[in-house]
């Protein structure tokens, strides 16, 4: 690039050279975008109108994949399972992470150690968490039910073997990783200027009032961003459902991505699987937009307040 620039420097303006340089620098992402995002999206939309396994045939079927999807019991089941998982896990982990962060922000001694203890589990991810929690949730000798026995609950749930308790089991597994969000809230708490609390003191506010009138509003931008990202991520829950339950018992843990994986990579119905992928996208998008749209009513940005 330096060479071409030098050769034609006399004739090219600085702006023209910067245009070329800019596009050269961002070229890796442009290639990524054109082929792996935009091209792939168009193609994905296209094949959702075909019946194909990419080996034996390629048959145009119009909207039938989409119609099938809307009439497929399993799709609705998967949508319910995934939504249930997301809409319990996301709020619960916000509350849990926030609680721990607030406790840690009380000038505790050895903060570094506490922080590590709570954060460490969230470093463990993917297959390893799933395998470990498969044992933790074992009804007979698992850690969880033995712990419940200690506090007097002798007949713990059957967790992954029970239609009613399998998703709650997954949710507990998700909550175990709340340490990441906790760190984020802790950083947010430490960034709240003390003069706000002093002003609240002058107004005679107690600790509870200060928490809801100062702490929570000041944290809402952090909570907002975290909730948005968590919703998108939770809708893609897959690993534990594949490894631990394979969607069972009786499809109680059939998540949208597991259904997509089965239809695409096990049944080779790529057209139908693409329709499901778009279904997943639409659902995620709708909920993300809902969060974004309602954010103005509950997210507080410092600096916008002085009217």
């Amino acid at each position: 690039m330096a060479v071409t620039a030098k050769a034609s420097a006399s004739r090219m303006s600085i702006q023209a050279r910067d245009n070329i340089a800019g596009f050269l620098f961002i070229a890796p992402w442009l290639i990524h975008f054109v082929f792996l995002i935009a091209g792939a999206m168009v193609f994905s939309m296209g094949i959702s109108f075909f019946k194909t396994d990419f080996l034996t045939g390629f048959e145009f079927v119009g909207f039938s994949n989409w119609r099938d999807m809307f009439q497929d019991e399993l799709f609705w089941k998967a949508l319910r399972v995934t939504s249930y998982y997301t809409f319990v896990l996301v709020p619960a982990s916000v509350i849990l992470a926030l609680t721990i962060a607030v406790l840690m922000n009380q000038k505790v001694k050895a903060l570094g150690i506490w922080r590590t203890v709570y954060y460490l589990p969230s470093v463990v991810q993917g297959v390893a968490v799933a395998v470990l929690w498969g044992y933790v949730l074992n009804p007979r000798f698992g850690l969880l039910n033995q712990g419940l026995e200690l506090i007097g609950i002798d007949d713990g749930p059957r967790w992954l073997f029970s239609e009613d308790w399998a998703v709650p089991g997954f949710i507990l597994m998700g909550l175990w990783g709340a340490g990441g969000a906790m760190l984020l809230y802790l950083a947010g708490l430490q960034g709240i200027p003390t003069h706000l609390y002093e002003a609240a003191d002058l107004d005679g506010a107690g600790p509870v009032r200060k928490f809801f009138a100062v702490t929570i509003p000041m944290l809402t931008p952090t909570i907002y961003f975290n909730v948005l990202i968590s919703i998108i991520a939770s809708f893609q829950v897959f690993t534990q459902a594949l490894i631990l339950t394979a969607g069972g018992p009786n499809n109680a843990t059939l998540t949208l991505v597991l259904l997509l994986y089965r239809e695409g990579f096990q049944n080779f119905q790529f057209g139908y699987a693409s329709a499901i992928a778009w279904g997943l996208f639409c659902v995620t998008f709708i909920f993300a937009i809902l969060v974004v749209r309602t954010s103005s009513t509950w997210v507080h940005y410092e600096g916008e307040t002085n009217n």
Binding site: N19, A21, F35, M41, I100, R115, G126, W176, G179
Partner: protein, 274 residues
């Protein structure tokens, strides 16, 4: 008096919560050293009768875990390099060069962060399989060399915080953009690149979905899909499976131990867990 009671209560709550959070990891560690017959004893015996590392040896031999380790290490190292290189180049372009269409291209980039990867998964699979890349590492490597929106966004934020006058000064000395990138921006960005490298490490080491789809031959397995295979065949041997789960986790735990500050920084600046 109320203060002391409050403080004591606070530490009791933090301690109990901390024990609950740590318990699964400690249980895994202790189980992995137990002889198989002690594993199912109720109530749980936290200290193994004898520290039996047989589980590790047998598990390690049952599948070719050394091979999986080499494969994953290779992939992780190459991918971290690719991601840092491509992300820093692209972020530099967006942060430092004023070129035509920069603002709206960046908006497009931001909006792609909302897209679930599953939407493009099938076409990309077809694309790679047409190129004959199924059961090779190319589908796992090439995208990392083409960066992604998330990493570009993070690095751009960091680059923007570096004084623009440094670029002008370098240009007066006759430096081109590539020189400014390599000699001015990169040396100043080591902390941010470190955070990115750590996140790329955990992501690559734990990545499950893509190796699952693309890699068929056991010889080419990564640790994540190797552990999954082990679990499907050996999960009735709990101590051994726990030992292999430990083995899969050791690099992540080790890096966490060595680079705790970077880990924490990563969470704080990105707003998500890595």
């Amino acid at each position: 008096m109320r203060r002391i009671v409050g403080k004591t209560l606070l530490y009791i709550v933090l301690f109990t919560g901390g024990m609950i959070f740590l318990a699964p990891l400690l249980w895994m560690l202790s189980t992995s050293f137990k002889p198989e017959h002690q594993v199912y004893n109720v109530p749980i015996e936290w200290i193994p009768e004898v520290f039996d590392y047989q589980n590790y040896i047998e598990g390690w031999r049952y599948l070719d875990f050394p091979r999986f380790y080499i494969n994953t290490t290779y992939l992780t190292v190459v991918n971290i390099f690719g991601l840092l290189l491509s992300s820093s180049l692209v972020a530099f372009g967006f942060a430092r060069i004023r070129f035509w269409g920069r603002e709206w291209i960046f908006l497009v980039l931001l909006s792609t962060m909302m897209l679930p990867q599953q939407v493009t998964m099938i076409p990309i699979y077809v694309f790679w399989s047409r190129l004959g890349f199924v059961n090779t590492y190319w589908p796992l490597i090439i995208p990392e060399f083409l960066t992604n929106a998330f990493n570009v966004f993070l690095l751009r934020q960091f680059f923007m915080s570096i004084n623009l006058e440094l670029d002008d000064a370098a240009r007066i000395d006759g430096a081109g953009w590539l020189m400014i990138y390599a000699r001015v921006l990169m040396p100043l960005s080591k902390p941010a690149l470190g955070v990115l490298a750590i996140m790329a490490f955990t992501w690559n080491w734990n990545n499950f979905l893509y190796p699952l789809i693309y890699i068929n031959e056991t010889r080419k397995y990564t640790v994540a899909i190797g552990l999954r295979l082990f679990e499907t065949q050996q999960s009735q041997y709990m101590a051994e499976t726990m030992a292999m789960t430990m083995v899969a986790l050791i690099p992540v735990l080790l890096v966490f131990y060595l680079a705790q500050a970077r880990f924490i920084q990563g969470i704080v600046i990105t707003g998500v867990k890595g």
